[in-house]
C-alpha cells in the first residue's frame, strides 16, 4: 500500500478482462477465486481490484453489527431469505475473529445460516486476521468485488465490539445495530457508542419476555440524541423464530436506501483511502485525477501522463465564465494546477504544492477547448519545479509555474 504505483506485474490485460467479464456474469467460482486473491493480497489482486472499480456502486451495502449472542446470524438468515424472496441477489460477507495467538479462526456463522443453498445467495466467511476493529483489512475490497459481481444487496456481518462497528459504518450505506432483549451486556455495549452509527436498530428475539422493554429503552435513548437530517432512526423488533418483523426490516432497508442513497462508499473512496493504484503509471495518474472531487467538479479530463509530465483538458462551459462573460482566471489556473499536481505526484510519493504563479494574457471564451501540459523543470530531494503551458489549439493562452514540497509518504 505504500507504493502508489506497484511494480508487480499483472496478468495479461486480455486474461484480466475475461475474468472480470466472467465474474460480472455471475460465475461463482471466478468470483470466489478473486475473493481469495484479494483476501490474501496476492500480487495479482491489485490489478484485479482496479479493473473492478469501474463497476462499483450498484449494491446496497448493509452493515450488521451488535454484541456477541445478539442473534445477528439468525437475523441475517431470515433477512437474506426475505430479500432473496423479493427477487434480489444477495451476498453476505461474514467476518469472524482470528485468534490473536495462532491466527487461526473458526468461521462458525454457517451454523445459523441455512440460506446458503439458494442460487441467488452467495456467502463468504472471512477471518478478521488481527486487523483492529473486527473487520479484516481487505473487507472493503471484498465488498467491492461482491458489488462488481452484480449483487443487489451486500450484507457485511461483524462481531460487534466497540471499534468494529464504527469501521463498518464507514463503508456501509445502511448500518443495522442489533441488540438482544434484556438489560444485560447487550444494552451496555450499545450504550458504549455504537448507537451513534445505527441507521436502524433491531431488537431480536421479540418472542422472549424482555424484548418490549428493550425496545422502549432504546427508543428512550434515541430521544436523547440529536435527530439526523432526513432520516429518523427506527427501532424494530424481529423474531427469527416466528418470522415477525423480518419483512418490515426489509422494507425499512429499502426506505433507507432511497433516503440516503447506495454506493456511498464508492464516492467517499474516491477522495479517501483508496485501494492500491495499478502498475501502469498513465493509468495510475488517470485514477488519481478521477479521485479528485474538484477536478471532476470543474469538468477537467485527463489526457495523458508519464514520469514528471501530465496533460489535461477542459472544455469551457457557462459554469466557467466570469461576470464579463469570459472564462474565469481561476478556471484556467485550476486547469494548469491540475496538470501541475499530477506531474508532480507521478514519482510514487506525495508532492504538496507550496507556490504557484500564472499569467492570463489572452481572453478565453465559452466553447473554447483548453489543454494544459505540465513538464518538470527541476526536481531535488525536497523541492521540485514544474512549468505548465495552457493552449487553445496551438495558441498559448497561459503560462504557469509551480513549486512542490516532496514528501516521503506514498499515496493512499
Amino acid at each position: 500500500m505504500r507504493n502508489p504505483l506497484p511494480k508487480t506485474a499483472a496478468a495479461p490485460a486480455g486474461e484480466l478482462a475475461r475474468r472480470v467479464a466472467a465474474l460480472r456474469t455471475g460465475q461463482r467460482a471466478v468470483l470466489a477465486r478473486a475473493l481469495t486473491e484479494i483476501e490474501n493480497e496476492l500480487p495479482s489482486a491489485a490489478a484485479l481490484h482496479a479493473a473492478l472499480r469501474e463497476h462499483l456502486g450498484h449494491a446496497h451495502v448493509v452493515g450488521i453489527t451488535g454484541p456477541p449472542g445478539a442473534g445477528k446470524s439468525t437475523l441475517i438468515n431470515a433477512l437474506v431469505t426475505e430479500i432473496a424472496k423479493r427477487g434480489k441477489r444477495v451476498a453476505v460477507a461474514a467476518v469472524d475473529p482470528s485468534s490473536p495467538v495462532t491466527g487461526g479462526a473458526v468461521l462458525g456463522d454457517r451454523v445459523r445460516m441455512n440460506i446458503g443453498t439458494a442460487d441467488s445467495v452467495f456467502i463468504r466467511s472471512l477471518a478478521s486476521r488481527g486487523h483492529g476493529g473486527g473487520l479484516a483489512r481487505t473487507t472493503p475490497r471484498i465488498v467491492d468485488a461482491l458489488d462488481a459481481a452484480g449483487f443487489d444487496t451486500v450484507v457485511v456481518e461483524t462481531v460487534g465490539a466497540g471499534q468494529s462497528d464504527v469501521d463498518i459504518a464507514a463503508f456501509a450505506d445502511t448500518s443495522i445495530v442489533v441488540s438482544p432483549p434484556g438489560l444485560g451486556d447487550g444494552i451496555q455495549a450499545i450504550k458504549a457508542g455504537i448507537l451513534e452509527i445505527a441507521d436502524i436498530l433491531v431488537v431480536t428475539k421479540a418472542d422472549t419476555p424482555n424484548a418490549a422493554n428493550t425496545e422502549r429503552d432504546l427508543k428512550d435513548m434515541l430521544r436523547l440524541r440529536a435527530p439526523r437530517a432526513g432520516w429518523s432512526v427506527p427501532v424494530l423488533s424481529t423474531s427469527a423464530t416466528t418470522g415477525d418483523g423480518i419483512a418490515s426490516l426489509a422494507d425499512t432497508l429499502d426506505a433507507h436506501a432511497r433516503a440516503a442513497g447506495v454506493g456511498r462508499r464508492v464516492q467517499r473512496a474516491a477522495a479517501a483511502a483508496a485501494p492500491p493504484l495499478p502498475a501502469d503509471l498513465r493509468e495510475a495518474l488517470r485514477i488519481l485525477a478521477a479521485r479528485d472531487s474538484f477536478v471532476r467538479h470543474c469538468g477537467i479530463e485527463f489526457v495523458d501522463g508519464g514520469p514528471g509530465t501530465a496533460t489535461v483538458r477542459m472544455a469551457v462551459g457557462c459554469q466557467h465564465l466570469n461576470f464579463n462573460g469570459k472564462c474565469h482566471g481561476g478556471a484556467i489556473f485550476t486547469l494548469a494546477d491540475t496538470a501541475f499536481g499530477l506531474a508532480s505526484n507521478s514519482h510514487g510519493v506525495i508532492a504538496a504544492g507550496i507556490d504557484a504563479h500564472a499569467t492570463f494574457p489572452v481572453a478565453v471564451r465559452e466553447g473554447d477547448v483548453l489543454v494544459a501540459q505540465a513538464t518538470e523543470a527541476s526536481r531535488g530531494r525536497k523541492l521540485a519545479i514544474y512549468r505548465v503551458e495552457v493552449t487553445r489549439d496551438t495558441e498559448l493562452v497561459s503560462t504557469f509555474t509551480g513549486t512542490v514540497y516532496v514528501t516521503s509518504r506514498g499515496h493512499a
Partner: protein, 142 residues
Amino acid sequence: MPDPAFRPKVLITKIGLDGHDRGSRIVAAHLRDAGVEVVYTPPWQDIGTVVKLAVEEDVDLIGVSSLATDHLIVPKLMRALREGGAGDVAVIVGGIVPDTDEKMLLDAGVSRVFHPGNKLDEIAAFVHATSAKVRASRFPSA
C-alpha cells in the same frame, strides 16, 4: 516448509444422516489453534450444499466426519465436487471407517482417512501440507 504467511482455509462438515459432531468440533477447534481458518458447518449437509460452500468459500480442503456409515456417500461427494468445478479441493475423512471401506474411499479420490487414535497434531500437519499444495496449484506464480 510451508510459507509462514500462508493460512489454509478448510471446510469441516458432515454429510448424510448422522449428527454425532463431537469429532468434527474437536478437530475444527484444534485446527483453529493450529493457525487454520476453518469454515465449520453443523451436521446433515446435502452434498449439493457442500459443493456450493466449497466453491464460494474457495477452500483448499474439506474434512468430512463420519461416525455412522455416512462415509458410504463420500464417493458421491467426490463426483459432485468434480462436476461442480471444485475437483481440485482435497478431501479427508475422519471417524469410524472400516478398513474395507477405507480403500473404497481412497480409490474415489479421498486424500486420507483418519481414525480414532490419530492425534490431532497429525491431522493438523496433514491439513497444512495438503492445503499448501492445493493453494500452490491454484496460484502458481504467487
